[in-house]
C-alpha cells in the first residue's frame, strides 16, 4: 500500500505552487504587456542561482542565512537590470514583430548559457542548505528552506497585486496589456511601462532562481530545464493572464506533489504534458485566456522580397552546381569530413522538411522529436523484428507522421505562441518517454548495436563513402518531393492560408486540415531522416535529440530565411562551418549561433538567402528586376 501522507502532500503542494507561481507569473506579465514570449526567462532564473552561488563563494565567513538574505535582494536587482537591457537591446527593436522578438530571445537564451559556461564552467555547483532545520507539522516535514519559498511566493504575489491594482504605475501596466494603442492615446509612456514590466518579470525569475538554487543545484542549463514548467503553466493558464498563471501554478503544484509523493516523480513531465494537451483540446487559449477576438488579425505584412526573383535558369544552374559539389565531396574529403558530410545531409533533410512545416505559419519545436521517433522506429523494428532497413525507412516516416497527427489534434487549434510552446512541451514529454520507459526504449543509454542498411546493388554501406552517397540520394529525393509539394497548388494554398487565415476560411479553405497536412508531410521526412541517423550512428539515445539540436534547425531556417529552399541550405552551411571551425571549443558554438540569430532578426529579417538573392539579382539580371519593380509601380499609380 502507498503510505499517503496528506500533510506532506499539502506542504509540497504549497511550496511547488509558490515556486511555479513566482517563476511563471513573470512570464505571463511580460507576455501581457509586450505580446511576446521571452524564451530567455529561464536564464534570468539561472542568473538568480549564480548570484547566490557567487555570494556564497565570495563571502566565506558570513553566516549562510545572511548571505541568503543578501542574495534575495541582490538577485532580483541583477535580474531587473538584465531585463531592462534585454528590453532595450532585443524586444524594443522588434516590438513590431513579436515572432522576431521571440526568436531573438531564443538566441539570447543560448548566448547567456554559453557565457555562463565560459565564466563558471559547465559543471553544476551544489550549494549547502541555506537555512538548515525543519519542523514537523501533523506528521509532515516542512524544511525552513521551503517555508521561505512559500513565504516569498506569497509576499511577491501580494506585492504584485498591490502594484497592479493600487498604484498608477500598475494601472498603466494593466492598461498597456489590454490595449496598447488606447494606452498610448491616454498618454501612457509605453516605453517606460515595457521597461518596468521586463524588470519585474526578470526580477521574479531571478528571485525564484535564488530560492531554488540550493534545492536543485546551480548549472548553466538550470534555466532551460525550468522554463519548460513555466511554459506549461502559462499555456494552461492562458498566455498573458496573471490569474490564469496563478491558477495553473496551483493546479500543477497539486498534481506534481501528489504524483511525487506517490513515488512517480520521474513521470511528472509526461503527466503534466498530457494534462496540458487535454486542456488545450477543450480550451485552445488556456483556462483563463481571454476569449479570442475571433477575427483578430494584424495587418498583413507585405513581403518585400515578393517579385524579385532569380531566373529559373540561374536557379537550376546553382542547384546542379551545389549537387555536383555534394556528390564530389566524399571523394575529396577525409573520412572525418565524410562523416561530417553525412550528418550535414541528414540535417539538410531536417531543415528542408522543417521549412515545409513553417510554411503553414507554425514554428514547431517538435521537429527533432520526429527525428527521434524515426530513429527509435528504426531501432525497435530492426532489433525486435529484424526488418530490413529498406522496409523501415518509409515506415519510420509514416510512424513519425502518424504521431505528428496525434499531437496536432490539440496543438493545431492553437495559434502562434501557444503553438511554439505546446510543441516544445510535447517534444520534451516524448523525449522523457524514451528516457523513462526503459523496458521499451532502453532509458538514457538508448538502444545500441544497430546495423547499417543492407547491401544494395552490391554496395556495402559499412563503407562511409557509400553511406554518404546513399544519404545524398535520399536527401535529393526528399528535397525533390518537398519541392514539388512546395510549388504544387496545395503548397501554395498553404502559404496563402498562413498569410490570411480568416479570408482563406471564407473562401472555403480548410485551414486546420492544411496545417495538419504540412505538419505531417514535414514530420514524415524528419522521421525518414531519423532512421538514417540511427543507422549511421549505430545506436539511438535520448541525449542525441536535445533542445540544442532543435535550436540548430530553427537557427538554420531563421538565418537563411524560409522563402525558398536556398534559405535553410545556406543557414545550415553557415552553422555547420561555425561548428567545425570551433572544434575543440564546443562551448563557444551556441554562443556564436545565438549571436548570429539575434543579429539576423535585428538586421536582416529576410535572412541570408534574401540578402544573397538581392545581390545576385542585381548581378545576374538587373534589367528584369527593374522591370518587375516598374510594373509594380505602375500598378500602384493606376
Amino acid at each position: 500500500m502507498f503510505d499517503i501522507n496528506l500533510m506532506q502532500i499539502l506542504i509540497n503542494f504549497l511550496s511547488l505552487s509558490a515556486f511555479y507561481g513566482l517563476f511563471a507569473v513573470g512570464l505571463a506579465l511580460v507576455f501581457g504587456v509586450m505580446k511576446v514570449v521571452n524564451f530567455a526567462h529561464g536564464e534570468f532564473f539561472m542568473v538568480g542561482g549564480y548570484v547566490l552561488w557567487m555570494l556564497v563563494a565570495l563571502l566565506p565567513g558570513v553566516p549562510l542565512w545572511l548571505v541568503f538574505a543578501g542574495a534575495l535582494v541582490l538577485g532580483p536587482l541583477v535580474g531587473a537590470v538584465m531585463g531592462i537591457l534585454v528590453e532595450r537591446a532585443i524586444f524594443e527593436p522588434t516590438s513590431k514583430d513579436a515572432f522576431g522578438g521571440f526568436i531573438a530571445s531564443l538566441g539570447l537564451s543560448y548566448v547567456l548559457q554559453a557565457l555562463v559556461v565560459l565564466c563558471f564552467g559547465v559543471v553544476s555547483k551544489s550549494l549547502p542548505v541555506m537555512i538548515p532545520g525543519q519542523i514537523e507539522i501533523f506528521g509532515g516535514t516542512l524544511t525552513w528552506q521551503r517555508l521561505v519559498v512559500i513565504l516569498c511566493g506569497l509576499v511577491m504575489m501580494v506585492a504584485l497585486w498591490y502594484f497592479l491594482a493600487r498604484t498608477s504605475g500598475g494601472r498603466a501596466v494593466r492598461a498597456a496589456s489590454q490595449d496598447r494603442n488606447a494606452a498610448l492615446l491616454q498618454g501612457i509612456n509605453l516605453r517606460r511601462v515595457r521597461m518596468v514590466t521586463m524588470a519585474i518579470g526578470a526580477a521574479m525569475a531571478a528571485l525564484s532562481g535564488v530560492l531554488m538554487a540550493s534545492v536543485i543545484n546551480v548549472s548553466p542549463y538550470m534555466g532551460l530545464e525550468a522554463i519548460w514548467k513555466a511554459f506549461i503553466v502559462v499555456i494552461v493558464g492562458g498566455l498573458g493572464s496573471i490569474p490564469g498563471a496563478i491558477l495553473a501554478a496551483t493546479l500543477f503544484g497539486l498534481i506534481d506533489s501528489i504524483v511525487t509523493t506517490l513515488g512517480f516523480g520521474q513521470y511528472v513531465i509526461i503527466i503534466d504534458t498530457v494534462i496540458m494537451l487535454g486542456v488545450l483540446t477543450f480550451f485552445p487559449r488556456g483556462l483563463l485566456g481571454r476569449e479570442a477576438p475571433p477575427l483578430d488579425q494584424g495587418q498583413v505584412q507585405r513581403d518585400p522580397s515578393v517579385g524579385s526573383r532569380i531566373s529559373g535558369r540561374v536557379s537550376l544552374l546553382l542547384t546542379l552546381a551545389f549537387l555536383a559539389a555534394l556528390a564530389a565531396f566524399p571523394f575529396a574529403a577525409s573520412a572525418y569530413y565524410t562523416g561530417i558530410g553525412v550528418l550535414f545531409l541528414i540535417n539538410l533533410i531536417l531543415v528542408m522538411s522543417y521549412r515545409t512545416v513553417t510554411s503553414m505559419g507554425g514554428w514547431s519545436f517538435a521537429h527533432i522529436t520526429m527525428l527521434a521517433i524515426g530513429g527509435y522506429t528504426m531501432a525497435l523494428l530492426q532489433s525486435h523484428l529484424g526488418l530490413s532497413f529498406w522496409a523501415i525507412l518509409p515506415l519510420s516516416g509514416i510512424v513519425a507522421a502518424g504521431l505528428a497527427l496525434i499531437i496536432a489534434v490539440p496543438v493545431m487549434r492553437t495559434r502562434q505562441f501557444y503553438f511554439f510552446l505546446s510543441t516544445f512541451a510535447a517534444g520534451e514529454a516524448i523525449r522523457q518517454c524514451f528516457i523513462q520507459f526503459r523496458g521499451t526504449f532502453g532509458g538514457i543509454e538508448g538502444i545500441p548495436f544497430l546495423a547499417p542498411p543492407e547491401d544494395l546493388f552490391g554496395l556495402s554501406f559499412y563503407d562511409p563513402v557509400n553511406f554518404y552517397l546513399l544519404v545524398l540520394a535520399i536527401c535529393v529525393i526528399s528535397g525533390g518531393l518537398l519541392y514539388v509539394f512546395d510549388i504544387s497548388r496545395t503548397g501554395r494554398t498553404i502559404k496563402a492560408m498562413a498569410s490570411n487565415e480568416n479570408l482563406s476560411a471564407a473562401v472555403g479553405i480548410n485551414g486546420f486540415a492544411l496545417k495538419m497536412l504540412a505538419f505531417c508531410v514535414g514530420s514524415f521526412f524528419a522521421g525518414c531522416a531519423g532512421s538514417l541517423f540511427a543507422a549511421y550512428n549505430g545506436f539511438v539515445a535520448p541525449t542525441d535529440f536535445t533542445a540544442q539540436f532543435m535550436f540548430k534547425i530553427i537557427a538554420a531556417v531563421i538565418i537563411g530565411g524560409n522563402r525558398t529552399f536556398w534559405g535553410p541550405v545556406i543557414g545550415l552551411l553557415v552553422l555547420t562551418v561555425i561548428e567545425e571551425a570551433l572544434t575543440g571549443a564546443n562551448q563557444l558554438v551556441p554562443l556564436f549561433w545565438g549571436l548570429i540569430i539575434i543579429f539576423t532578426v535585428l538586421f536582416i529579417p529576410s535572412g541570408l538567402e534574401g540578402l544573397a538573392r538581392r545581390v545576385l539579382t542585381r548581378l545576374v539580371n538587373g534589367k528584369s528586376l527593374g522591370a518587375t519593380y516598374r510594373r509594380g509601380d505602375d500598378a500602384s499609380r493606376a
Binding site: P294, Q299, V300, G307, R489, S636, A638
Partner: protein, 252 residues
C-alpha cells in the same frame, strides 16, 4: 434563402445581437444598415461561422447551418468579404482568385500535392475564370500585380472579386464602397447589379445611404443589436425609428 431566427450573441455583458430574425430573398440586393456598433459585422460573423451564436439559428435554404465551420459554409455557396485585408497580400491578383477557387476544385488532394497534370490543367482552367472575373471588375490589366501593391480602393474591389471567385450563390459584402472614389463606386454598384441579374443574391453592409437606397431591393436596420426596421428603401427612408437611430432624438 438565408434566414436567421432569434439570433443572439453576447460578448461578456454586452449583447451585440439580440434575438434578430430576418430573411434574405433570392436574387435580391439586401442592405444591412445601422449606426456603428449596431451588430452588423457580428451578424456577418455569425452567419458565416466565424462566431458561434449564444442562441438562435441560421438556415441556408432548408438546411440549418448554425455552428458549421467557416470553410464548410463557404462550400455551401455563401461568400463574404472583410472590412479590411480581404485579400492575400503577397499573391498576384490572378493567384488571389485562383486560391479562392477552392470550392470548384475536383481533383484529389494527392493529385494537387504532387502537382500532377490533371491538377495543373484544372488550375489553368481556374486561372482563365479568374482572368474573366478580373476583367469584369475592370482590373484585368493588373492580373500579375501583387495585391499589396494596389491602392486601397482597388484592393476593396479585389476583395469582392475574390468572393465572387468562390462561385457563391450569396455574396455578403462588408462595406464594399468604403474607400472607393465616386467613379469606382458607380462602377462597382453596376457590377453588383449585373451579378444580381444573373440570379445571385447580395447582402451588403454599407454606410453610403445614397448607394444603398438606389441599389437595394430590401433593407434591414439594426440598432444596438436589435432589429429596428425592415422594408423597401422607400419605407425605410420614412421610418421614424430609423431616422431617430441615425440622427438622434431631436431630428425625429
Amino acid at each position: 434563402m438565408l434566414r436567421v431566427h432569434d439570433l443572439t450573441r453576447r460578448f461578456g455583458r454586452l449583447t451585440a445581437l439580440d434575438r434578430v430574425s430576418f430573411e434574405v430573398a433570392e436574387a435580391t440586393i439586401h442592405g444591412l444598415i445601422g449606426p456603428n456598433g449596431s451588430g452588423k459585422t457580428t451578424f456577418f460573423n455569425l452567419a458565416t461561422g466565424f462566431l458561434q451564436p449564444n442562441a438562435g439559428k441560421v438556415f441556408w435554404g432548408d438546411r440549418e447551418v448554425t455552428g458549421l465551420a467557416p470553410h464548410h459554409i463557404s462550400r455551401l455557396g455563401i461568400a463574404r468579404t472583410f472590412q479590411n485585408t480581404s485579400n492575400f497580400a503577397n499573391l498576384t491578383l490572378r493567384d488571389n482568385l485562383v486560391v479562392a477557387s477552392r470550392n470548384r476544385v475536383q481533383t484529389s488532394v494527392l493529385h494537387r500535392m504532387l502537382h500532377l497534370g490533371s491538377a495543373r490543367s484544372e488550375e489553368a482552367d481556374h486561372g482563365r475564370t479568374a482572368d474573366a472575373i478580373l476583367e469584369r471588375f475592370g482590373i484585368g490589366h493588373l492580373a500579375h500585380t501583387i495585391a499589396a501593391d494596389l491602392p486601397g480602393g482597388t484592393q476593396k474591389i479585389l476583395g469582392v472579386a475574390i468572393a465572387l471567385a468562390t462561385g457563391p450563390r450569396l455574396l455578403m459584402l462588408d462595406e464594399p464602397l468604403a474607400g472607393l472614389n465616386p467613379a469606382e463606386k458607380v462602377q462597382l454598384m453596376d457590377i453588383l447589379r449585373s451579378i444580381r441579374a444573373e440570379g445571385l443574391t447580395l447582402l451588403l453592409i454599407e454606410h453610403d445611404m445614397k448607394a444603398i437606397m438606389q441599389a437595394c431591393d430590401r433593407i434591414t436596420v439594426l440598432s444596438y443589436g436589435t432589429l429596428l426596421a425592415e422594408g423597401s428603401p422607400a419605407e425605410i427612408s420614412r421610418d421614424p425609428a430609423t431616422i431617430k437611430a441615425y440622427l438622434g432624438t431631436e431630428a425625429a
